[in-house]
Symmetry: C2
C-alpha cells in the first residue's frame, strides 16, 4: 500500500486545487491500473477504472452463414459467469454484428434521424433536437436470436452470453410518430441503421406505438459505439436484431418488408410475426455454471438470471436433481418488465454428482420448456432436436463429484 | 469511416476465431479510442470503451478542515450536467476521501470481514464465503453531507456532484448479524473500513437490521476501487459517510460510539441521530443548468434528478419564474426507494431572463425547502443563511436573455 502523505503546500494554494491533487494524490492511482500501460492519475480522476484484481472479459466468436465474405457474423459475448445483479456494465455488454466486425465512427453532430413514408409530415431530427424532447428511462434486456446453447459450449458465456441488460434512455417512438402524423393505412415500420449492412428490420406499428424508444443513453451515459452510438432503437422484448444500432431512418409502411435481417423469422402475418420476434421466457443459472469449481460439499447460493419478452418474470424454480423435483427460487432483484431478474436459492451440496437446472414463468403464465419437452413436441430425439425460433430451453449444469461444473447437455 | 472488408482466410479457420477477429476486425477499433494512447483491439473486445466524441469527466476538489495535513478532504465530482436516466456509470461515480487521497490496493483473496462485539458467535468471512450467501440487488443513491451548493459554484457538477446512483449487490447485513447472534442489550453497530483513516461510523442497530447491505458489486461488476473494492457497507438513504468503503469490521455495541467521521452530526439520542443521518428530500435540475447554453427561444425539455433518504419520490414540481408558480413534472423513470428518480417537464422559453427551480416531495410527504424558507426558520438573511445538517435546499438556475445558464444563488 502506498501511504505517501499528501503534498501540503500543493493543497494550501487556494486556487490550485487541480495542481494540488496531481501532486498529492499519488495514492489514488494505487489499485486502479487495470492493465498495461498504466492509466495516468488524471485519467483515473476523470474516468475511473476497475481493480487490477478484476479481469472478467468478453470473448469473441465468429460464424459464417454463407460462403461469401458477406455471410460473416461476428459476436462478442458477455461473461455471465461473473455477473452480479441485473445491470450489465456497458464495457461488458454483448455485441453482435453482421457481415463484418464493423463499428461506425459517427460524429453525433453529423448524425440525423429521418421519419418518412406513410406520414403527413416527414421529419429529420438532429441529436440535439431529439434530446430536447421528453425522455423515458427503462431497464431492458437485449438478446440475440443466436443465443443458442450447444453441447460443445464450455460455460454460460458461450451458451448464453448473447444477452445483456442495461438502463436505456430515449424518446418514446410513439411521440415521434405522432408528431409526423401516421396515416391510417399504415401498419408496419422499417427501421434502418447507418452501418454498412444497414441493420434494417420490419416492426409492427402496434409495437412501435406501444413501448419502442429511440435511445441515446445506456447506463447513464451516451450509448457505447459497440451498442449503437449515437442512436439505437429499443423494441423491448423483441430479439436483438430489432434493436437497430446507429439508427438513421424509420419508414412507415403498409406491409411487412423483407430485409437482409429477416433470416429465420419471415412471416407475412403481423400477429404471428410479432410473436416470433418475442424472446423467452428464459432463465439460466450463472453460478455454479460451466467452468466454476466448487471447493467441496457444503452450502452454496445458486444464482441466475431470468427474463421474458412478454413482460415481467413471475417466478423461477430450480432443480438440483436433473429436473425430477423443483424448488421455488427467491427473486433477489425487482422483476422489471422485459428485463433480466436475478434469482437465488440456498443449496446444500452433498458431494455427489448432480445436475442443476432453472426454469421460469412470466407474467402471462408461460413456462420455460425443457429440451426434452421441445423434442417431444417436434417428435425428434432429445440429443438432436432442432429448436425452432429463439432457443429458450432449460440449461442443465452437471456437477461432478470433484466439484467441477460442466455443460449438462452433452 | 473504415469499410475494410474482413480477412476472409482468417475467419475460415474454424478453430482460429480469435486470430480471425484480430485480423479482420480492424473496423471494431474505429470510434472506440477515448484518448491517447489508443486502446488495442483485443482490449476493446475484452472490455469496451466509450466513443471518442464523448468526453464527460469527473473533476476533483480538495478542501481543508483543519490546519494539519490530516485535515484534508479530497473529492471527485460526478458530471450531473451530462447525466441521463438514473444510473451513474461506475467510471463517473463520485468519490469522497478523508485525510488524503488514498485508495487502498486490496487483494480480495486477502480481505476479511469480522463481525464481533455483543454477539454470541464472532465471525470472520472471506470474500468467497460472503458470495456463497443469499444476495440482494437494489438501486440506491449515495450522497455526501458535503454536497452543498455555494454561490461561487459555476455548474451542477460543483453544486450537486457529490451524489451518484448505482445498482448495489450484496448480502443483507441482517443475515450476517442473525448468524452472529446479536445480544439483547445491543443497540448500535460501528462499521470500519480498511483505509488509513478507517472510515468508521456508528449506525443504529434498527437500521442495520432493516435494509443495510454488505456489498461486493456495483452496476453488475465488482465494486470499483474508488468506491470501496472489494466490500462496501450500504446504509440506504443515510449520508455517504455511512456507506463504509473497504469494509473490514462491524462491531455490535450498546451505545453510540464517537468516531473521526462524526464531525457535524453527533447526537447521543439514537432516534435524533438516525434522522440526522438521513439525506433529503432533494432535487436539482440537470438540464438546463449552469454552463449550458440554450440556442434561442423555443421548446426545451427541463430534466433533473430527485431523491430522498426517507424512501421513494412521490412528486416533483418545477418553477420557471423563480418560485412564484409551480408545475408538476413527469417522473420519467421508476421512482425506487432511496434512489435517484429522473423527472422532466416540457418548457417553452420566450427568450427573457428567468429562474428555473425544482422541488420534490417524498413518500412521507416531506417537501424540499427553498433557501428562503430555511433562512426564515433560522431567522438569518437568505444570502448568508447557514444550512444545518445536509443541505437539501432548492437550487435556482438563472437563464440570461442570451441563453446562457448561471447559478441563481448569486
Amino acid at each position: 500500500m502506498n501511504s505517501k502523505k499528501p503534498n501540503r503546500r500543493g493543497f494550501l494554494k487556494g486556487g490550485a486545487a487541480l495542481a494540488g491533487v496531481a501532486a498529492g494524490g499519488a495514492g489514488l492511482a494505487s489499485g486502479q491500473t487495470a492493465g498495461t500501460p498504466a492509466k495516468k492519475l488524471d485519467e483515473l480522476i476523470a474516468y475511473g477504472d476497475r481493480s487490477r484484481f478484476v479481469t472478467s472479459k468478453r470473448i469473441p466468436v465468429a460464424e459464417r452463414h454463407s460462403p461469401d465474405e458477406f455471410g460473416l457474423t461476428f459476436h462478442v459475448l458477455t461473461p455471465l459467469q461473473d455477473s452480479h445483479g441485473i445491470i450489465t456494465p456497458s464495457s461488458l455488454h454483448y455485441t453482435a454484428t453482421h457481415r463484418g466486425a464493423f463499428v461506425p465512427d459517427i460524429d453525433p453532430k453529423e448524425h440525423r434521424l429521418m421519419i418518412h413514408g406513410m406520414v403527413d409530415r416527414p421529419l429529420i431530427f438532429t441529436m440535439d433536437e431529439l434530446k430536447r424532447l421528453p425522455s423515458v428511462s427503462r431497464i431492458h434486456f437485449i438478446e440475440c436470436l443466436g443465443n443458442r446453447a450447444r453441447p460443445t459450449h464450455k460455460n454460460v458465456q458461450e451458451t448464453h452470453g448473447l444477452t445483456s441488460c442495461a438502463e436505456w434512455t430515449g424518446v418514446p417512438l410513439s411521440l415521434l410518430l405522432k408528431e409526423a402524423g401516421v396515416q391510417s393505412a399504415a401498419s408496419w415500420i422499417v427501421a434502418e441503421g447507418a452501418e454498412e449492412v444497414k441493420g434494417n428490420s420490419s416492426i409492427p406499428l402496434a409495437k412501435a406505438m406501444d413501448d419502442c424508444m429511440v435511445c441515446y443513453a445506456q447506463n447513464g451515459e451516451p450509448i457505447r459505439p459497440q451498442q449503437g452510438f449515437p442512436l439505437r432503437l429499443m423494441a423491448p422484448g423483441f430479439e436483438g436484431i430489432y434493436q437497430i444500432k446507429y439508427l438513421r431512418r424509420i419508414k412507415v409502411v403498409d406491409r411487412f418488408y423483407m430485409t437482409y435481417d429477416d433470416y429465420g423469422h419471415i412471416n407475412p402475418d403481423p400477429k404471428a410475426s410479432a410473436l416470433t420476434h418475442q424472446i423467452g421466457p428464459k432463465s439460466v443459472i450463472t453460478f455454479p455454471s460451466g467452468g466454476h469449481q466448487l471447493s467441496g460439499p457444503g452450502i452454496y447460493q445458486i444464482s441466475g438470471l431470468a427474463w421474458s419478452g412478454a413482460g415481467a418474470i413471475r417466478s423461477v424454480e430450480v432443480s438440483t436433481d436433473g429436473g425430477q423435483s423443483w424448488k421455488k427460487a427467491e427473486l433477489q432483484s425487482p422483476a422489471y418488465r422485459m428485463a433480466h431478474a436475478r434469482f437465488g436459492l440456498g443449496w446444500k451440496w452433498d458431494g455427489k454428482e448432480c445436475v442443476l437446472m432453472s426454469r421460469c414463468t412470466d407474467e402471462l403464465g408461460t413456462v420455460q420448456p425443457t429440451r426434452a419437452e421441445v423434442a417431444k413436441f417436434w417428435n425428434e430425439p432429445v440429443d438432436k432436436v432442432r429448436v425452432r425460433g429463439a432457443d429458450n430451453t432449460v440449461q442443465p449444469w452437471r456437477i461432478s463429484s470433484d466439484g467441477s461444473v460442466h455443460n449438462g447437455m452433452a
